[in-house]
């Protein structure tokens, strides 16, 4: 790949595949019902060219076009059509039925001053109605273009259609390829400007690091407006000349088995999902559904976009090894939209999981007690040293039982080695920290984007993309993520903003949350949030989703009492901090971003306003009980 001329873009690669392997499937759509549909590279190129001709006739080069995501081939045609027309596609969810969803899409459209909205025919009517009152910054209406699969041409709401002659636009490497809006848990959405040069630089790193070929088949349920879905599961296969299989996220969330069935039917070799997707499969795929599955061709089950949990990887392997899944396919990585997608890639020659000393980690040091290279599917075979507190039973038994004094370990999943970027871990002065010391992840290189879109993003661009290291080098991308290097691999330990500084210790909410949900069957696998109590620095609050044992209504009060006290006890003994409250809430109450990240600040606000549906709380249990010591063992 190194011999590729510098002036090429992803569009040139796609056109090359149309020429050289035009009959090869570029996109396969697996609908919720009915037959699979295939779009070949030749068809993709022809439809994209027709769309580009239409877009060029009515828009200026560099105009932004919101491309609304449906899990259909038209989404991919729209992306490539925009590249070919010199427009900047902005992948977006459909405006949707809920007010907050419409507000979010309207916010993106306004921020990038989009000239056009491209939409699949299946969502045309509601999109046209939604867009009718919208105006650009200069007062012009926003044009809606319906991507018509049947006639392979685009029909637009405005103007006459130009003759579908091929418009031979060639984007330059430094041109924006697309804008990637980030979930932005706390602030308003920011659009990362990803250039064509970024895309190809990332493409080369991604395909080389993972050993991917044009014969690979990628299959994903991730939506195309998410960086993992867009770059990893669509643009990478398109650049390779490989096949991208699309399963709708709705279909997956209704029945996780559909993702696995699609992989079976299309003989997929590469897939990707955040941690929670693998967890959903383990929990919700039924025994009688296993017989039709065959995951033996899967080479990579990539995992990112949220912290990776070793227990989830193990459970997935255990559940699906009988249908051919290999544990060695697990590929946890680290990345962010600001670096196009992936910064560190799995490396099978290095350990997958490390067990690190809890006390040292709280002091910002990674002291590795044990390494595991592969995850065994056989329970009991793995070697777990030094009083682990990861297993539910162990954790329940150990809760409050001297955890403050015993040397305990936490299992962390390694996120691989950097490719295509230079990676440093730095302290607050911008000094590189020694290996094994926790620092902020800084990145630079060809895959690092140029910044956020527009004047509104200028301040955030300077802050995030313009860091200077203590040695004078820069600009560096500050990720806000914390991690340490172990044997060349990045081990992510948390987020700077979510770091809890209590009782003189650094605590990572992820860890406390994982420990709390392992304490009781009713909390197992359910999200929770740990944060500092409002107005009480150094005191912790936990909000944990909880499902009481069905049918245990009589003893329900005792069960809830028991759970909040166990959790409070654990928090108090591990952190050394006061526990202000532990609140058990109904499933679905802990706020998360669309990509599943826990919103701790919002959880704190909701709790403060009394807006959470509480099942029980530590404070309520205190009122009922004789003792009021949070840290007392049950």
């Amino acid at each position: 790949m190194g011999a590729r001329p510098d002036h090429l873009t992803l569009l040139d690669l796609v056109r090359g595949h149309a020429r050289d392997r035009g009959d090869h499937a570029a996109v396969v759509v697996v609908p919720e019902a009915g037959e699979r549909r295939t779009l070949t590279y030749a068809e993709l190129d022809a439809r994209a060219a027709a769309l580009a001709a239409d877009l060029v006739a009515r828009h200026e080069p560099g105009d932004r076009a919101l491309v609304l995501y449906s899990a259909t081939e038209s989404f991919v045609v729209a992306l490539v059509g925009c590249f070919a027309a010199g427009l900047v596609p902005v992948p977006s969810p459909l405006p949707g039925g809920q007010a907050y969803q419409r507000e979010r899409v309207r916010g993106m459209l306004a921020d990038c001053d989009a000239a056009a909205v491209l939409v699949d025919p299946t969502a045309a009517a509601e999109t046209q109605e939604w867009a009718r009152p919208l105006r650009r910054a200069d007062g012009r209406p926003v044009a809606v273009t319906v991507l018509d699969a049947a006639t392979a041409t685009a029909t637009s709401t405005t103007d006459a259609v130009a003759a579908p002659t091929r418009h031979d636009h060639r984007p330059a490497p430094q041109d924006a390829a697309f804008l990637q809006y980030t979930s932005g848990s706390t602030s308003r959405p920011k659009g990362v400007v990803v250039t064509h040069a970024n895309v190809l630089h990332h493409h080369d790193a991604f395909t080389t690091a993972l050993g991917l070929t044009p014969d690979d088949v990628f299959c994903s349920w991730l939506p195309g407006y998410h960086d993992f879905g867009l770059v990893g599961m669509l643009l990478v296969p398109l650049g390779l000349g490989a096949t991208a299989v699309m399963v709708s996220s709705t279909s997956f969330l209704k029945r996780p088995v559909r993702w696995l069935s699609a992989m079976t039917q299309t003989r997929a070799t590469v897939t990707a999902s955040p941690n929670f997707g693998y967890d959903q499969c383990t929990r919700r795929v039924r025994d009688d559904q296993l017989a039709d599955l065959d995951l033996s061709r899967l080479r990579w089950a990539l995992n990112g976009a949220e912290p990776v949990d070793a227990a989830v990887l193990e459970a997935f392997t255990r559940r699906f090894e009988p249908v051919g899944f290999r544990g060695s396919a697990h590929g946890p990585g680290y990345g962010l939209a600001e670096a196009t997608l992936t910064a560190t890639y799995p490396d099978r020659s290095r350990p997958l999981v490390v067990t690190v000393d809890d006390a040292a980690l709280r002091d910002g040091r990674l002291v590795v007690l044990d390494e595991e290279s592969g995850l065994s599917a056989v329970p009991g075979e793995q070697v777990v040293p030094v009083a682990p507190d990861a297993g539910p039973q162990d954790a329940a038994a150990d809760a409050g039982a001297g955890l403050g004094t015993a040397r305990t370990g936490t299992r962390l999943v390694c996120c691989g080695v950097p490719h295509g970027v230079e990676l440093r871990l730095v302290d607050e002065r911008g000094e590189t920290v020694p290996d094994g010391t926790v620092g902020e992840v800084w990145l630079r290189g060809g895959a690092v984007a140029s910044g956020y879109w527009g004047a509104s993003g200028a301040e955030a661009t300077a802050e995030t993309f313009g860091a200077t290291a203590a040695d004078g080098t820069g600009p560096w991308l500050r990720t806000g993520d914390l991690g340490a290097l172990h044997d060349g691999q990045l081990v992510v330990t948390g987020r700077i903003k979510e770091l809890l500084l209590v009782a003189g210790r650094n605590l990572y909410p992820y860890d406390l949350e994982r420990e709390l949900r392992a304490l009781h069957a009713g909390a197992e696998g359910r999200p929770g949030a740990v944060f500092e109590a409002e107005g009480l620095p150094g005191a912790l609050c936990a909000v944990q989703e909880f499902r009481p044992t069905p049918g245990a209504r009589e003893s329900g009060g005792d069960e809830l009492d028991d759970a909040v006290r166990r959790m409070a006890s654990h928090l108090a003994s591990v952190s050394g901090a006061a526990v202000h409250d532990v609140v058990l809430v109904r499933p679905g109450q802990v706020p998360r971003t669309t990509s599943g990240k826990i919103q701790r600040g919002r959880a704190r606000d909701l709790l403060g306003r009394g807006d959470l549906a509480e099942l029980h709380s530590l404070r309520a249990s205190r009122g009922r009980a004789r003792t009021d010591h949070a840290g007392t063992r049950p």
Partner: protein
């Protein structure tokens, strides 16, 4: 596929909603919004998937936006499921 009696749709919906919320079916208010009861979007889709499996019908993701309470959802299911012996 099962062939539920028309009045059993309410029970079916309440049973599934209660399971997702972790409460007894009797504790679910049939007139309350599902989101207000605490169901997140992922759980709503899982609920629709379960109801589809139970009834052999296809349910649009917007079904819950249009029929936000257990009672309205049951009414909707009654209208889309072909119940043997009840056709006019």
């Amino acid at each position: 596929m099962t062939s539920p009696r028309p009045d059993s749709f309410d029970d079916l919906v309440l049973r599934h909603v209660a399971a997702a919320l972790g409460v007894e079916p009797g504790a679910v208010d049939p007139a309350a919004d599902l989101t207000g009861l605490g169901l997140g979007s992922v759980q709503v889709l899982a609920l629709l998937g379960d109801l589809e499996d139970a009834l052999g019908v296809d349910l649009d993701p917007e079904t819950v936006a249009d029929n936000p309470t257990p009672r309205a959802l049951a009414e909707h299911l009654r209208s889309v499921v072909d119940v043997p012996g009840t056709a006019a």
